[in-house]
């Protein structure tokens, strides 16, 4: 099949997630397959009072971010830390690069909800004079990319795609397009989210999206399990450095993997529900593979969106079984990480890169039997050795956004 778009190289990864403060620590925890959900004191008294937070106290996050942390929202800090790691991992030096040719495309689904809620309470209780002058920069979602741009001296195009739970994957697809159009030479791209506010958590609970498994918090996020009952709120950031392959190899960088194709479609159906046949998601999967010049049978592995909600997982499993009937291995990192919303697509793209590199598929946390209700090959209990040459990472978001990234091994 002819390739429609040249692949780009993934030359750097950075992760700051509930499973660890780096790509390496996150990968180890995800491979161990243990859920990171825990009681969340800030959600105390609510119907759902547990979440997956990053394992680093705010004070330590601030110390790592440094002197400008006071003016950054929580998601922005996560983005900055993950972006620094990704750029370092790529062997790039912001002091010497041509910043005008560096794009920062970091998605965010929600923005700074916790700060919004805190300051709303101050307005109500103490009046307008006691509202922080920093409120707006701390809550606007685009500061996750703006903050990375400032931190790295990246002066090329910077924007924050918002496609809800697909935002991180949308950002990567947009960044790939910018590289293909020669509108930048380096793209620092991914997603960041820190929206574990009381109100936003209640909002997701009210729509029936969250697990209520309060008596078994560690078992609450269980993608593809027969008794799944919803997702677990989470926060974090994932950042990839993308470059055109010729540029990466010319400077002696060894790509971790290739981003070979991106498929982005819309359901044009309903704000929060997928259509029964998942036609939009299927079109995204087929588009990503077509761009990569691959057939469905080339896919060795699927990094599923797998939120652990009854409807999403059933629809996605049906899609995988129908379009990829040769039973590629399937994992779902939200069992370990919870749902990091706008960061999830980027974190999972990074995990898919690591799966390809390490030839190791992480298990789905809390899934005991290989998805009895579905005809798909879920990896359970322990990592599986597999020579993954081609993998796809699924991301779907409220609004009917479907994004599929096709990643292949280098060389």
């Amino acid at each position: 099949m002819a390739r429609a778009t040249s692949p780009v190289a993934v030359t750097g990864l950075g992760l700051f997630t509930p499973a660890g403060d780096s790509a390496e620590t996150t990968w180890a925890t995800v491979c161990a397959g243990r859920s990171q959900a825990a009681p969340d004191p800030r959600l105390a008294g609510l119907p759902v009072d547990f979440s997956c937070r990053v394992p680093v106290p705010e004070e330590e996050v601030d110390r790592r971010v440094g002197r400008k942390s006071w003016r950054m929202g929580r998601a922005e800090k996560f983005a900055v830390l993950a972006a620094r790691e990704a750029v370092r991992d790529a062997g790039l030096d912001p002091k010497s690069w041509d910043g005008a040719r560096v794009a920062t495309i970091i998605g965010c689904g929600m923005g700074g909800g916790e700060k919004w809620e805190e300051q709303q309470a101050r307005l109500q209780e103490r009046g307008p004079d006691m509202v922080s002058p920093l409120l707006i920069p701390l809550i606007i979602p685009n500061l996750v990319s703006g903050g990375v741009s400032i931190d790295l001296g990246a002066r090329g195009v910077s924007l924050t795609p918002a496609s809800a739970c697909a935002s991180g994957a949308t950002a990567i697809a947009v960044a790939r397009d910018l590289l293909a159009a020669d509108l930048c030479d380096i793209a620092v791209t991914g997603g960041a989210e820190a929206a574990l506010g009381r109100l936003s958590t209640v909002g997701f609970w009210r729509m029936g999206a969250l697990s209520e498994r309060a008596d078994d918090i560690g078992g609450a996020s269980r993608p593809f399990a027969a008794d799944r009952d919803g997702f677990v709120m989470a926060e974090g950031a994932g950042v990839l450095v993308l470059e055109r392959v010729a540029d990466a190899t010319a400077r002696g960088a060894r790509p971790r993997a290739l981003l070979a194709g991106c498929g982005s479609t819309s359901d044009a159906f309903h704000p929060t529900s997928p259509p029964e046949g998942a036609q939009g998601a299927e079109a995204a999967l087929r588009a990503a593979l077509a761009e990569a010049g691959l057939s469905p049978y080339d896919v060795d592995h699927v990094n599923a969106h797998g939120t652990s909600t009854p409807l999403n997982d059933a629809t996605e499993a049906g899609l995988i079984a129908r379009v990829l009937p040769h039973r590629p291995s399937v994992t779902g990192p939200k069992g370990v990480l919870g749902h990091t919303l706008g960061a999830a697509g980027a974190i999972e793209a990074a995990l898919t890169v690591l799966t390809i590199q390490h030839r190791r598929v992480p298990p789905i946390a809390n899934l005991q039997a290989p998805a009895p209700a579905f005809d798909i090959d879920c990896v359970t209990k322990q990592p599986r050795r597999q020579d993954v040459r081609t993998a796809v990472s699924h991301s779907f978001g409220f609004g009917g956004h479907n994004v599929v990234l096709a990643l292949t091994a280098w060389p």
Partner: protein, 84 residues
């Protein structure tokens, strides 16, 4: 009457809230030298108001103001508040 306490509050706010390195926080340092821009100054004033109970006049907290001058200004406000 408040000087030591007022200065300690200012010092703590700069070090913990604005992450200014401790060795830079000296009485003769200006706000500009401590890298506090106009947005930071507005937040700084709010934090001090919460902790000291008095509101800094904006003309007494500009970029060239030293920490000693701010301390002096806030002390006068605090004394006046106690007297009234």
């Amino acid at each position: 009457m408040h000087a030591a306490d007022t200065y300690a509050t200012i010092r703590t706010a700069l070090i913990t809230d604005f992450r200014v390195p401790e060795d830079e926080v000296t009485p003769d340092a200006t706000l500009e030298q401590l890298e506090l821009d106009s947005l930071a100054l507005a937040e700084f004033a709010l934090i001090l108001e919460e902790r000291l109970g008095v509101k800094i006049d904006s003309e007494h907290a500009v970029r060239t103001t030293t920490l000693a001058e701010i301390t002096d200004h806030l002390d006068r406000l605090r004394t006046a508040a106690v007297a009234s």
